[in-house]
Subunit: 342 residues, 2 copies
Amino acid sequence: MIIDCHGHYTTAPKELQKYRDAQIAALKDAKHAPQKGAIAISDDQIRESLESAQLKIQRERGTDITIFSPRAAGMGHHIGNETTSRHWSEHCNELIRRVCALYPENFVGVCQLPQTPGVSPKNCIAELERCVKDFGFIGCNLNPDPSGGYWTDPPLTDKYWYPIYEKMVELDVPAMIHVSMSCNPAFHTTGGHYINGDTTAFMQFIVDPQLFKDFPTLKFIVPHGGGAVPYHWGRYRGLAQDMGKPPLKELLLNNVYFDTCVYHRPGIELLLKVVPADNILFASEMVGAVKGVDPETGHNYDDTKRYLDAIDWLKPADREKIFHGNVSKVYPRFGKRAAKKR
Amino acid sequence: MIIDCHGHYTTAPKELQKYRDAQIAALKDAKHAPQKGAIAISDDQIRESLESAQLKIQRERGTDITIFSPRAAGMGHHIGNETTSRHWSEHCNELIRRVCALYPENFVGVCQLPQTPGVSPKNCIAELERCVKDFGFIGCNLNPDPSGGYWTDPPLTDKYWYPIYEKMVELDVPAMIHVSMSCNPAFHTTGGHYINGDTTAFMQFIVDPQLFKDFPTLKFIVPHGGGAVPYHWGRYRGLAQDMGKPPLKELLLNNVYFDTCVYHRPGIELLLKVVPADNILFASEMVGAVKGVDPETGHNYDDTKRYLDAIDWLKPADREKIFHGNVSKVYPRFGKRAAKKR
């Protein structure tokens, strides 16, 4: 079984964006009392949006299940206020729930959190609980920078974030650390802000690893192959060492995992060389940041399974961990779900 | 001849920092009229600061010349105002001039610019001109984020930056894109902000390559191995392609170069595999971000020459370009200086 741990519903029916556009437009009217409202999307529309995209690609590439969450760039936590974020997140998560109900063999849900810059992540607990307990979701996406590129909230190691970590630990769900769209002209969303978010979070963990003493079972997935981290693995090993910290393996590799969203073979090879297989989870982010076909290979850039398949020095046991085995470790509720089905 | 294109005067005599501390302390006194003042550092102090550090390491590692600039983290463009930045930059650059005068065979100067967030880079022209024309410097360090981690200035491709580019082109000097210390708690300076700065700038160039049509001879060095870029080379190729841009080589590799400040062999190998040798310049950043010895190799993490030396598939002609040949192309004044000496 091949599990892709990083997919977003980037192909959602256009009614979703229409709702969002109206929600944002209404923010300009100070007299407007925001309401959650409804979004009319039929099951057929959902099927159609997936059959021609994620499901087709799953079949073509030979992957089985995608751990699926709302479009990351669409989270837009900087827009509006707590209420805006709550209504929008609830709708996005409810749509993921419907996807998972329609295709229980193909998708497992992960939720967006109703974060807002400067607002305690406490206010995300109810939605996380609803998504895990009521919807059967197995994780969440946590935005380390709800401001959208101005980085005005404290580092992820700050006690500011502890309420959501307490709930994650209680529910036994991990978080993928994932920023949303950039509203800072300095940062391109998928080419700058995403990768910076990954790199930034990892370094925060090195600086203040007390977090993992306080929450020994807390688990994070750093997406996009860990941002710049594996490429600069020597730098991070050296920085930790200069700070008098233990080796990275001991410092944080019980809590931090990387996905394989790296869109060329040399990058994937580097990742496999420097990061232990125990800490790597297969992912492609399809349909995501890069949609084209690489003229150098004739295949999609984001067909990351091909890169892994082509690496003949990868041990079968490690390959199994990356494609499948590690998922049950990082997402314990995935394992329980699989056990229940057997 | 082996040229290290990225070294900072991180070991400057303590009088320099004392000056800076006093300068910062004086900012609190609104009645204080800032003056440039003087810093008393003897030639012997300068010699001592280098003999036990950069010069010793040059000899040990077998490198010849370091392209040398003030400490990058120390630039602190976000501190004080234009005048603060001007006085501080002038002192830092004058010290580099003295280093280069004392050791003309070992160091060539690159200047810090007196940038300030929200202030037009026009105000850096005079100092750039002084450093190049009067001091014989061959380049500058350009901070894409003078705010120190809040990214409040426009992207490097914005016309806001054109005045300094016009002067760079006129003087025929490149800029290394280099942020300074982070004052944003989200970003560790050398482990987060530095690498993000590199990644961010490269993506800005993809988004708006008009810059290189307007300034076809403008040259940038993206340090720290290009941040996350070579690791995600497929992502950047794919993003450019999805935007309808030409291949990266054509889009920006006449203007953008990467150094080799990547502190482990797998990272260096990746860099050499994906980036053409014509676009790579040898560098170590010593004495810099990582000072320790890698227990896996028994050598300093930042001894990047060793990684390059160990790669037997690197063609001799490419090795020569990386260690030496490309420098005269990227820093034309280095070439002229060498020609004059012959």
